[in-house]
Symmetry: none
Subunit: 244 residues, 2 copies
């Protein structure tokens, strides 16, 4: 599916940026690079910054203008830093991702288009794109590096695909294990004289809150019970006095 | 508020990456850079890639080790590519953002920590951090450029905007309090013979994970240190034998 989403760079001027863009694409699982009138993609700087993504430089396809680069694409997104110059809705990257994800296919290719490092896309080039998008930045310094911009769109696209399973919750110790731990803790704390005799529950409530919040798994309950057993053993000669 | 979130680079090896990281930070409205044993931040490559973010290079603060860089931070996040080596929850950037955003303040500083380009953070450095995080990448090519990683976390933080304050987090113990607790715990566990002599760090890492996950506040640190003092006292006649 990611192979149905192309990254299009229009007249990139720095070979290093092409290389870095390839690396960013590959990091996020994208492989289709289209270059419109780019500088030399096999320049040593490009190869250096591509690191292990040289294959993307090699498989990139070249076009004489943006219209031909987009000819087989339906879902086209032009990126811009200019806001509201025309009355066109400008989407943030996550909205681009949610519109494209699950839609792109061999019959419905998508393209995210990035302009020149210094001047971006022309108004005419933007007008070739169905949607326009921008990355929200600090008002003080809004000029993102080209490869950084490519990364952020690829990142949002791959993120839109996956929904994380919450393994931590899957894994938590059962209530019965926790209660056995608390019983052991109570006995041990009582033995070493740590519980206030007037109000032993006060400290135990604090300790329960701490260990519940830690979302212990079974292995960790075992580690803590081992610790308590060793405290019991180490204090076996102790008479229960509070430390003065 | 963004000024209460520090980006910490541990032993960055490439001046260009420091420069690019500064640019990415400034693009997203972040200004606090902390360097632990970094290479020359005024190297021409650093200045070149920082472009209009040279001021961040100049205002960066330098530290001899990670512990001192984090001493005044409560919300510490260590980034890693290693997954599931221990049962520690590994957060994606957006989850880091939602935990930090609206929480960080002058009294509750946050730090996102990035390791060396080639080797990341050591296990010991990660263990200084309350939370661990990773950027989901393609299984084929997971090695992100350092400045790209910095960008993604800053991007998610700025995107998260203001979220309602979580009192639990406001209240969390500072890194220095946690480290004093762990030192006390280590001494106490060693004394009662609970640490494996061959590999004492193994158990300590488990205990660190448990107590970090519990988001202890200062009062709870005091309760636990009181408990340790009482264990010390109760086991004062103990000779350090493991229970047979």
């Amino acid at each position: 599916m990611n192979s149905d989403i192309a990254i299009v760079l229009v007249e990139p001027q720095s070979p290093g940026n092409i290389g870095m863009a390839c690396r960013a694409m590959k990091n996020m699982g994208f492989t289709q690079l289209r270059l419109v009138n780019g500088c030399d993609r096999f320049h040593p700087e490009a190869l250096k910054f591509a690191v292990a993504a040289r294959d993307l430089l090699e498989s990139a396809t070249l076009y004489p203008d943006l219209a031909s680069a987009l000819a087989d694409c339906r879902l086209t997104v032009g990126t811009t830093r200019r806001h509201g110059k025309y009355r066109q809705e400008i989407l943030p990257p996550q909205e681009v991702a949610s519109r494209i994800k699950g839609q792109a296919s061999a019959d419905c290719r998508a393209a995210i288009v990035f302009g020149r490092e210094d001047n971006g896309l022309t108004t005419e080039e933007l007008s070739l794109c169905r949607w326009h998008a921008t990355i929200p930045t600090s008002s003080e310094y809004g000029s993102l590096n080209l490869a950084q911009s490519v990364l952020l769109f690829c990142y949002e696209l791959q993120k839109a695909g996956a929904t994380p399973a919450n393994e931590q919750i899957q894994d938590m110790a059962a209530s019965s294990e926790m209660e056995t731990l608390f019983e052991h803790l109570h006995g041990c704390m009582k033995k070493i004289g740590f519980l206030n005799e007037q109000n032993p529950d006060h400290i135990m409530r604090s300790l329960r809150r701490i260990f519940f919040r830690a979302s212990l798994n079974s292995r960790e309950v075992t580690v803590l019970r081992g610790m308590l057993t060793q405290i019991d053993w180490a204090s076996s000669g102790f008479d229960g006095r509070k430390r003065s």
